[in-house]
Amino acid sequence: MLYTRNKRQLNVKLDGDFNLNAVRRISELLSDKDELYVDLSHSRFVNSNAIVFLNNLMQNHKKVRLKNPPKIFFECLHILGLHEVWNLKEIVEP
């Protein structure tokens, strides 16, 4: 996992799936930053722990942006009912 961070933002490029291990690493690195940017170009899936983690961040008024999420991610959002709650236009970057 590659990352850069500044005072406000954590930028992460995952080299595998967005699973619980990745959630834990990101959570440690994020601490009190206001914004999380995750490049998912190399992720096959984003699991439910990761989706719930992102949801909690947004509930706590942190900004989340996701680059190039796999298409299965959108199906998972549907399954969990979050496709109508998340503002995907703002969150997802192609």
Binding site: S48, N49, N55, P70, L80, G81, L82
Partner: protein, 492 residues
């Protein structure tokens, strides 16, 4: 192509397991999207198991990866804390309104798979079964697109060539089946060329294709390998109507027997229908001997040539052809079935030493090892006893309990005849509603097994047609046990 993983229950193992799942699925023939769905399902289950069932405690998780012509199944078994998924089901409303995503992982795993089963086997652990059906185009759609060949030119003294089938023959095989049987062939997988191609590529089966002039496919005959023993089912055979009565079937079978010997198989078997005796006659002509009568093996079906729909689940006679003369391991005959088993064995030129069980030996203080196969399409299950142990009865009861909700039509149990404790196991199973099915030669790990069966659908034995003397004897004995059991159940 089967695999077995034994994992330490730690988060660090999840990524490696999902990577393996993805690669295994792709190697079997799934596309990237399908393989990803199975990997995500595995990730969700393993994460839940490690977080909640083991909850920072040490332990192990076992995974089995199984392939059959129509589906793949991934079994995840764990021994963590007791858990009832029904009490932790996911609710979108609660998730969105209260931020409580309990059950989300299982919900995603369920949606990523075609079948998702949770089996609680008590002290023998919990199992998650994730199934993906291999999807592909039906031969009818392919034929519609390219219009079926209608050349019916009869060529006298047609010359045939026989070659080993490859994945490239898959579409021709489907066409042969469709043109010969319409929709009535019992093995539905043969209507799907992609499934055939994958099965050949994955060495799940091997076979012979006969071709006439201009490369026209005329016949096909194949052996499906058993996954846990060196035997094969000779279950797929077709000769195009215009090429019948020319000895093609016999020529193909001879080639198949040679190929089976080259591959080290100890025997071949066929599951002959009892809707009529045609398949049993064919098997008898090729030297097979009947060893078991398996009741309600598959659901009701329509058969070409029968004027009326067959009124009940389909039962089959197991016909066996040994390819070896060496039958090394002696077997113990439970006294209840000593006579019929001796008669079955006596059909073969050579057979193992038969030991009468006059006195029960004390059971060894070992664990019981059972293996459960669920056949989703035929709505049945097979429990294979790999080792009798002190917990045999309790372990069995836990398996019965775990599959209770599946409402299966039939449950079969294969007991190793090489164990001297088989007598007590048979008597106990009789008390649990099981009746005889017969001998399954070399069926698991190259060992002879006694099959017993628990039939949960109504069967009229008048509709079951048998041919040989032994299959007739089996039918009479099984019928007697079936009616005695039902009389007993009615009176209680």
């Amino acid at each position: 192509m089967e695999a077995h993983l034994y994992l330490e229950a730690r988060l660090g193992m999840i990524g490696a397991s999902t990577d393996f799942t993805y690669k295994w699925c792709v190697n079997i023939g799934l596309d990237s999207d399908e393989a990803t769905r199975m990997s995500l399902a595995v990730d969700e289950i393993l994460t839940d198991v490690i977080l909640h069932a083991y909850n920072r405690k040490s332990g192990y998780i076992e995974m089995w990866f199984q392939y059959s012509i129509s589906e793949i199944e991934i079994i995840i078994q764990e021994f963590g804390e007791p858990f009832d998924p029904d009490r932790h089901s996911f609710s979108k409303e609660i998730a969105i309104n209260e931020g409580n995503f309990e059950g989300a992982g299982h919900e995603i795993a369920r949606k990523m798979t075609d079948q998702f089963l949770f089996l609680n086997r008590g002290r023998d652990g919990k199992e998650f079964r994730l199934v993906h059906y291999l999807d592909s185009s039906h031969i009818k759609e392919i034929l519609r697109a390219e219009q079926m060949e209608s050349s019916e030119e009869i060529i006298p003294d047609e010359q045939y060539t026989f070659t080993t089938v490859t994945g490239d023959d898959a579409e021709d095989i489907s066409k042969l089946i469709y043109q010969s049987y319409d929709y009535t062939y019992t093995k539905e997988d043969l209507y799907f060329p992609k499934r055939i191609e994958l099965a050949i590529r994955n060495e799940y089966k091997f076979g012979v294709i006969a071709r006439a002039s201009k490369n026209r496919p005329a016949g096909y005959f194949a052996v499906i390998r058993n996954s846990d023993s060196m035997i094969g089912e000779i279950g797929e055979a077709v000769v195009s109507p215009r090429d019948r009565k020319k000895g093609l079937m016999k020529m193909m079978l001879n080639k198949l027997i040679d190929m089976s010997r080259q591959r080290g198989l100890l025997g071949l078997y066929g599951m002959a229908l009892t809707v009529h005796t045609i398949s049993q006659k064919v098997n008898a002509a090729f030297g097979y001997s009947s060893t078991a009568l398996i009741i309600a093996k598959s659901p009701k079906s329509v058969y070409k040539g029968l004027s009326e729909n067959y009124p009940q689940s389909i039962s089959v006679v197991l016909d066996f052809l040994p390819l070896t003369r060496i039958w090394n391991v002696p077997v113990f005959l439970p006294s209840r079935y000593q006579a019929i088993l001796s008669k079955i064995y006596s059909q073969f030129e050579t057979y193992p030493e038969l030991i009468s069980l006059t006195k029960e030996k004390p059971r060894e203080d070992t664990d019981t090892e059972l293996y459960l196969n669920i056949y989703y399409q035929s709505n049945s299950a097979l429990i294979t006893v790999r080792r009798f142990g002190r917990t045999f009865e309790n372990s069995m009861l836990r398996v019965f309990k775990s599959i209770e909700d599946l409402k299966l039509s039939s449950v079969y149990i294969d007991l190793p005849l090489t164990s001297p404790w088989i007598g007590s196991a048979v008597e106990w199973l009789k008390g649990e509603g099981f009746i005889l099915a017969g001998l399954m030669p070399f069926f698991h790990r190259e060992i002879d097994h006694l099959r017993m069966q628990n039939i949960k659908v109504s069967i009229k034995f008048d509709h079951i047609e048998t041919l040989s003397e032994v299959s007739g004897d089996l039918k009479e004995l099984i019928k007697k046990e079936y009616h005695a059991l039902h009389a007993e159940q009615t009176s209680t």
